[in-house]
Symmetry: C2
Subunit: 345 residues, 2 copies
Amino acid sequence: MARPTIEDVARTAQVSKSTVSRVLNDSSEYMREQTRSHVLAVIRDLGYRPSGVARSLTLKRTQTIGLLVSDISNPFYADVILGVESIALAHNFDIFLCNTMYDPQRGSRFADSLIDKQVDGVLVTTTSLSDQFVVELVSNQIPVVALDWTPPPLDEKVGVVISNFETGIAEAANHLVDLGHQRFAHIGGPPHIRTSRRKREAFLGALRAHGIEPANVVVIDGNMSFASGKAALIELLALAKPPTAIFAADDLTAIGVIGEARTRGLQVPRDLSVIGFGDVPFAAQVMPPLTTIALPRHEIGRIMMTMLLDLLHNSVNLPNTITPMQQVETQLFIRESTAPVKKAH
Amino acid sequence: MARPTIEDVARTAQVSKSTVSRVLNDSSEYMREQTRSHVLAVIRDLGYRPSGVARSLTLKRTQTIGLLVSDISNPFYADVILGVESIALAHNFDIFLCNTMYDPQRGSRFADSLIDKQVDGVLVTTTSLSDQFVVELVSNQIPVVALDWTPPPLDEKVGVVISNFETGIAEAANHLVDLGHQRFAHIGGPPHIRTSRRKREAFLGALRAHGIEPANVVVIDGNMSFASGKAALIELLALAKPPTAIFAADDLTAIGVIGEARTRGLQVPRDLSVIGFGDVPFAAQVMPPLTTIALPRHEIGRIMMTMLLDLLHNSVNLPNTITPMQQVETQLFIRESTAPVKKAH
DNA sequence: CTGAAAGCGCTAACAT
DNA sequence: ATGTTAGCGCTTTCAG
């Protein structure tokens, strides 16, 4: 037989739907204990479960958020998701996971879906090509908090958390320079991704502070994967004067570089220093353990969700002329994939 | 101003709601092209988006499924999720990701949530302690397809996909025996997990076929993580006669073992052979590349979702006396973490 | 302290 | 070819 409704409960308990609704939401404490417990009993007997859908329709609230990530198989996101989850669950929110795979097409498709499903808000940890779908979301009254994204001036309910790449990357550059390196390469993320550009600029900028001209550092576009690290290294080794130090925009890429180096007979860090970005759990497990720039992934998730909750709570439009913003720091973890440059012989 | 409703569209287009609804669902092709395009225009002008919630309420269908995984940070699941997604998206289903962290509490909490949200079906890739929440789901008319779970006899709409651990694990055992090993250890997953037990039995069984008594192989319970691999190895090395070959129920564990071995001055595979399970992408990147048992993760995801779709489609109860079941195979990938046993000196 | 009734936004007969 | 109407299951004034 079909799922019982509130009506069924009301009828068999000989009360009105309102009463049932009241015991469900413990609103109006004023109720005969007898009534309450009787209704409760009936609910249990019938195995009644309120319909979230109906509830959402009347309440105009779904207790659900959307979470956009670029690539769920990148361990970076796993922790962010965990962070989001930790605070979402505590507030009884469920999560629609949307995995864009760096594809704007998929991004809009998900945005559409989230709008249709009427999520209460969305978290965007991926900013591909266009801001289009973020705009689409907010213009449909859906609060958004985005990671590493500077919102256009005309905002509705949006918040942002910004990672301070610059300091961590500067530490990395300094470290490499201190080690005596002079020939550098950078393997970036997909170039249309905002953060790829920011990381590159940060690295080139830090190097220039040491007198190394951007024109002299080789930059290759990768795509945040083992494969792209391998491919990039092959390309770099073909150069007349290959770099002695590589900064990859992503740990996966860095690990790919290390692996490829080994298969080509190069030893990291003796022959080549490499620094990653992200400090994913594996970074410490590979051989040699990866020197990398850490981001507080879990915290990022928590902050984002918390910020969203704030946005949701202040639904009584406070003057949102200023968009909430929070910054998280990055930090270099020196392990064993970097070493002094080999003496030229 | 608030989100426009179908009513608004109808009014400003001077037609009835039904008409609008019709153009939305291109049902009834019989409609004056003029009407259709006019309505479409109004829809565009108003920026109207149908409410998925209202739609779900009347249709009793949410176009949403739940996906239960044990640990989203385990790369094993990333691919399964991708597989599920690939076919879910094509059929316009969205996914509620539920990350149980091997915690039955969280499991039931999610089950409740999924029931309330009225998902159309759920995929369970995690079977912790009790089958309780699977039962809860199906008894609420929600179709379930589960991974590596033998359903109780009295089923509603459930499907299962079973991984044939046995063959892959037997290959692994044979491989180790061929290499001359005689002292074995197994580091399992959480013991209350069904699959942990199955893997252990498979390993012990395969070994016994070679005359090695189960009593002689050390079994340690782990929890599918680097840390548990490290801890287990420490324990094993404290033994009077430490094993020379270890089969870990999970790649993360195996990688943890290798890492710990290195920090304790042991060389893998010279001093110790280790085999993992899962063949996660990292397995091939660590040093030495991990010999491991592969599962068709992506395919598992696809099969599960496909099966669910079938269940959903045959909502006109076919005699579901037999529950759909499909088996996937496992296979040993020999890489470099296994080698002939060292000669005793 | 509890009930009646309206309404949330949409679809699906059933008219016309 | 299009309009009318009756729900879908719940919450929430407003009465009593």
